[in-house]
């Protein structure tokens, strides 16, 4: 079914010239979008000597896999992987779970001045995190949560973006279904779990992924609220190397290797989930 819809949306006539043009433009777009990644990999495999050469080579003279070992040793990356994974997963679960409940409440449960409360929540999307840095640090300090997983999990969990997305999605659901479930005597918990959630699975996958990305990639907050290497996450590990560039040195080969440590797991995760995401949507969340 997915392909039939796709065929309708696109230009249906099978003109070989059009097909060639489509492939060519896609290829060009991918090369443009992929170039930085290519350069990241190439740079990470060069020797410092080759790196200093000019003009730069498009492919390393010899592939220096040892760079990855050097980069790995430059920060406690093993521990940082564990930390990133644990705090990323926990914060995502919390964030998505709370957002689901809240979005459902806003979409389907009566409450005085509901729209006002919704706007109050959505307005927080416009607050830059940098503004909350100091007050939240003070709060965590009072809770004695500095340098704990709590600090990396709980404060980022209250996020308006997933609430917004879920709310948008819930509003698109056919209200007849909800009414029917209500008529059957289902409570809100059951409706959310049995009716709304199954129909919103693709959006759930997407939001989960975006939330996880946000946690995985966050730099400033983990740097500020963790004091010890045992509590730190991967992006902070990259800072161990970036530091040297500020001093004037340029270990770009190591920096790119460390950057790949951060990027590769997320790319793998993404490749797996992406299929499910698109498939899920075609299976008919929006169509019902």
């Amino acid at each position: 079914m997915g392909s039939s819809v796709a065929a309708h949306v696109g230009h249906t006539r099978k003109n070989p010239l059009t097909t060639a043009a489509v492939y060519a433009s896609l290829l060009a777009a991918c090369m443009l979008l992929g170039l930085p990644f290519f350069w990241m990999v190439v740079t990470s495999l060069k020797s410092p000597h080759e790196l200093a050469g000019y003009p730069p080579s498009w492919w390393p003279e010899s592939l220096r896999w040892g760079n990855y070992i050097d980069a790995w040793r430059s920060a406690p990356f093993g521990r940082m992987y564990v930390n990133s994974l644990i705090t990323g997963l926990a914060a995502t679960a919390l964030q998505v779970g709370l957002a689901l409940l809240m979005a459902y409440a806003f979409a389907f449960i009566r409450f005085p001045a509901r729209r006002f409360w919704l706007l109050l929540v959505l307005a927080t999307m416009m607050i830059p995190d940098e503004m909350k840095l100091v007050p939240n640090y003070l709060t965590l300090s009072r809770l004695d949560w500095i340098n704990t997983y709590w600090a990396l999990i709980v404060p980022p969990a209250a996020h308006a973006f997933p609430v917004f997305v879920f709310y948008q999605q819930f509003r698109m659901l056919p209200s007849a279904l909800i009414d029917a479930a209500k008529a059957d005597g289902a409570g809100h918990g059951r409706i959310l779990w049995r009716v709304v959630l199954p129909m919103s699975r693709p959006v759930l996958v997407a939001v989960t992924l975006v939330s996880f990305l946000g946690r995985w990639n966050d730099f400033l907050w983990p740097l500020i609220v963790t004091d010890t290497a045992t509590m730190r996450t991967l992006p902070v590990g990259l800072a161990y190397l970036k530091k040297q560039a500020e001093e004037g040195a340029s270990p770009w080969h190591l920096m790119m290797a460390a950057a790949l440590f951060i990027v590769i797991p997320i790319v793998i995760l993404y490749s797996i989930l992406q299929k499910q995401f698109v498939e899920g949507i075609t299976k008919g969340a929006i169509k019902g």
Binding site: I146, Y149, W150, G185, G187
Partner: protein, 432 residues
């Protein structure tokens, strides 16, 4: 009806589940361990060898003092570290000892976040700073107290391309700044279409090297207590005009801040000279491609040689208990003991800035290159620096960029920067 009650019950149960999740945050992690007794935490910057060597020194201290423990934690770059110290100070927490760049000493000391080390220096376990080079101790002197002691001291070093010098008929490094400017022009090589193949000079995109240049030519940008700001000092105007014309002619290039590109330009033979610090040493001598690199001190000016030191030092934070203070002082004395400084100089390339540490470093100074680097020490002048006030630093940095990037009028730009800095400093002084 029963159905509806059940449904409500479900809602409650679901709500509880999520409340539970909130209360317990998904999963627990190891809690931060509290420093027990006189144990202290040390926050540091610098990664790579300069970071590892610090951790080794900390481990040595812990071996020698089994009754206490110093925990060393890397906190990112100097500016990351300062941001962390700021937030921690606002919450009245943080480490007991910290590494600190010269940039922030003044603000931190004036706000009462740092401990005055003078009583400790004059106390029973005191510190004799008579064998220290230059006026290094002065960097930490604020309002009659000492709030910071140098640890990782950087000195200016000029690196040059020996082969390019020979080709240009130059027998040795420039002795004076006037030579330096004329050499930069002589060393510039052009290909067809006038494209520059090698520029005489690649500038480091920070203002630190300029301080040495200005000071040795007799220029002053501020006085000691920031009551007299003179960013438009005639010497500064003259030297920046000189640099500006070098850039305009293509004899000097200004790589961007993010990449440390001046070293890359030098290492690949696209720039014949760089004004850097001892920090570039190992990179220069292991990675230079296709030419022989050499080093020298920065040139001399009308006032002879006057150099701005770089790097960082150590400070004790005010939230330290008396017991911890003892450990903290013992730790600082350990870190700047002759053996430690000598070890650090060997491992990290920062300089051995005390007489005793130079003796302890022994064979290191047998290498004529290291000997040259250390020759800069007596000429260090740390009694004040534009880096110590954010307002002055900002104003001067921006003027520097405007002049070299946008080719702005030197006198007018520095005048404007001076006015701005003066107003901002007044503001800063009233904030305390």
């Amino acid at each position: 009806m029963i159905n509806r009650i059940c449904a409500f019950g479900q809602d409650v149960a679901l709500g509880f589940c999520f409340s539970f999740l909130v209360a317990f945050g998904g999963c627990g992690g190891p809690q931060s361990s509290l420093p027990s007794g006189s144990g202290i935490t040390y926050w540091r910057t610098l990664s790579g060898a300069a970071g590892d060597a610090q951790d080794t020194l900390v481990a040595r201290f812990n071996e020698q003092h089994p009754d206490t423990k110093v925990t060393s934690e890397f906190q990112g770059s100097y500016s990351d570290l300062a941001t962390k110290l700021l937030t921690a100070a606002a919450a009245r927490r943080g480490p007991q000892v910290t590494q600190l760049g010269t940039f922030e000493i003044r603000q931190f000391a004036k706000s009462g976040v740092l401990v005055d080390l003078k009583p400790l220096m004059n106390g029973p376990n005191g510190l004799d700073t008579s064998g220290w080079s230059g006026t290094l101790i002065a960097a930490g002197e604020i309002d009659g107290g000492v709030y910071w002691l140098p640890f990782n001291v950087a000195v200016p070093v000029l690196y040059y391309n020996q082969d390019a010098f020979t080709d240009a008929g130059l027998s040795g490094p420039p002795e004076t700044w006037a030579d330096f400017f004329s050499y930069a022009r002589k060393l510039t090589r052009r290909g067809d279409k006038d494209a520059v193949q090698m520029s005489g000079l690649a500038l480091w995109n920070i203002t630190w090297p300029l301080l040495s240049m200005f000071w040795s030519e007799g220029g002053e940008l501020t006085n000691r207590d920031y009551t007299n700001i003179t960013l438009n000092d005639p010497v500064a105007v003259r030297l920046l005009t000189e640099l500006q014309s070098l850039v305009r002619e293509g004899a000097a290039t200004l790589p961007d801040k993010a990449s440390g590109g001046h070293r890359a330009a030098f290492l690949s033979g696209r720039a014949a000279m760089i004004l850097d610090s001892q920090d570039a040493f190992s990179e220069v001598f292991t990675q230079a491609t296709g030419f022989t690199p050499a080093l020298a001190n920065y040139p001399a000016g009308a006032k002879g040689k006057v150099y701005a030191p770089g790097g960082g030092g150590l400070a004790i934070l005010a939230n330290t208990t008396p017991k911890q203070r003892e450990t903290a002082w013992a730790f600082i004395r350990h870190m700047i003991s002759p053996e430690s400084i000598a070890y650090y100089a060997r491992e990290s390339g920062y300089v051995a800035f005390t007489e005793e540490s130079r003796r302890a470093a022994g064979d290191l100074l047998q290498d004529p290159r290291h000997a040259t680097i250390h020759e800069a020490l007596p000429f260090l002048r740390a009694d004040y620096s534009v880096n110590m006030s954010p307002a002055v630093r900002n104003a001067f940095d921006e003027a520097f960029q405007k002049i070299l990037v946008q080719n702005a009028d030197v006198q007018a730009t520095l005048d404007a920067a001076d006015t701005r800095a003066e107003a901002a400093v007044k503001e800063e002084l009233t904030a305390h």
